[in-house]
Amino acid sequence: MWRLTVVLLLLQCLFTARVQADEVYYRVVVAEAYMEMHSGAGRGYPVFHVVDRGDEVEVIKRRTDWFLVRTSRGKEGWVSRHEMQLTLTPGGEKTMFADAAIGDFSRRRWEAGVLAGDFDGADMITVYGAYAMTQNFSAELSVSQVFGDFSDAIVGRISLLAQPFPEWRLSPFFSLGGGLIYTDPNVTLVEESDRTDQIASAGAGIRMYLTRRFILRAEYKNNVIFQDKNDNQEIDEWKAGFAFFF
């Protein structure tokens, strides 16, 4: 038991050096009767200290919706964003610790997510990142991996998305894109070599704003693969997943 304690304490000492560095932090003044400091960055962690009205604290860092603050006496603890919103700046102005809300969803700039689904009967995973140029239009870069019975594939695509109703919680979108598909046949089954083809996609889908920074997303795409042979291959693609914005 004491060995574990020693090991943990040594590890802790190893990593606390950085905290002692003198840095200049933002300061806020408690404006309500008191501000509660929790022992951890979560609602369930016990309140171990309160800061009185008028006292100034330093804001050291933020993790999700919790702020690590330090009192003038050197006590450190976590304060919820909700309580931070009730503080003032040393100048007496209201502080702005805004929550990500549905308004931020419509005004989001960056979005990243992961989707899983079906690509012509094969399993598919997609990772994507998107940048919104306006509230209605965004550019998206996605990479998908397809796991088929006879071949595997990697698809890289760039798409333009139009979102006619950005302020809706359930917001539909339309997409148009193109890219490359690299197909790697399973050698044990098919006597065919690897190949890279062009792919074009058109689709529609829906984003649902869940809470904070979360989005659920589902979409359908119709793809055309331009093969060397004269017949183009048409492929249906269904997928759903989650995303977050920042």
């Binding site: 304690t5 943990l8 951890g40 979560g42 962690y45 040393p90 502080t95 920074r213």
Partner: protein
Amino acid sequence: MESRLRIFLLKSVSLLILTGLFSGCSLLRVDDAPYDDSEPVIQPTLERRTVSEADIDSEDFEATVFAGVMSIEDFGSNVVYGARLAYHITEDFFTEASVGRTEADETSFETLSGGAQILSDSQRELTYYNISLGYNLLPGEAFIGKGHAYNSALYVIAGVGNTEFADDSHFTINVGAGYRFLLTDWVALHVDFRDHIFDSDLLGNDKTTHNLEATGGISLFF
């Protein structure tokens, strides 16, 4: 007499240099923050008032290195190692991208038969990547002895990914649970148990394989 004169001269010269330096400094200072009578006197404090949350250091990312044991169904257990990158979206949810690598041992058939080999050496390498969503199910504090409390969390996690094994890609679902033990605000220890589930036809029939993994890791928040 001459030396006194020299001292006097030296003094005056050094005085001149010093005043020059000081005026230079004050000039520099004026350059840095030009003082203008037309500006309101309160101006310098204005900058402090706009406490924008963007200026506060946010530590929502967590990078982990891990090592442990992974069992590949029918192919024994071996050392696995890898890295993870997590983004904490809320106090409850986080997403995590993970990569890992291990090697397959021999199947019991290969061992018993003596020389027969199902896979070549390069085919025995297993690498995986996945993207998962985690939920901090039981956040809490752990106590060691009388005077030490550490924050911790038991989380559940599930996701999708790819497993490269025996020259083939396998769509893989992973489910598991882990324990995060925070040594400080920005360093944590992890214990993780995962089941990587994928279909394989390596030994003839198509079957769903469960590949269990137990790892320990250390992570940094940034």
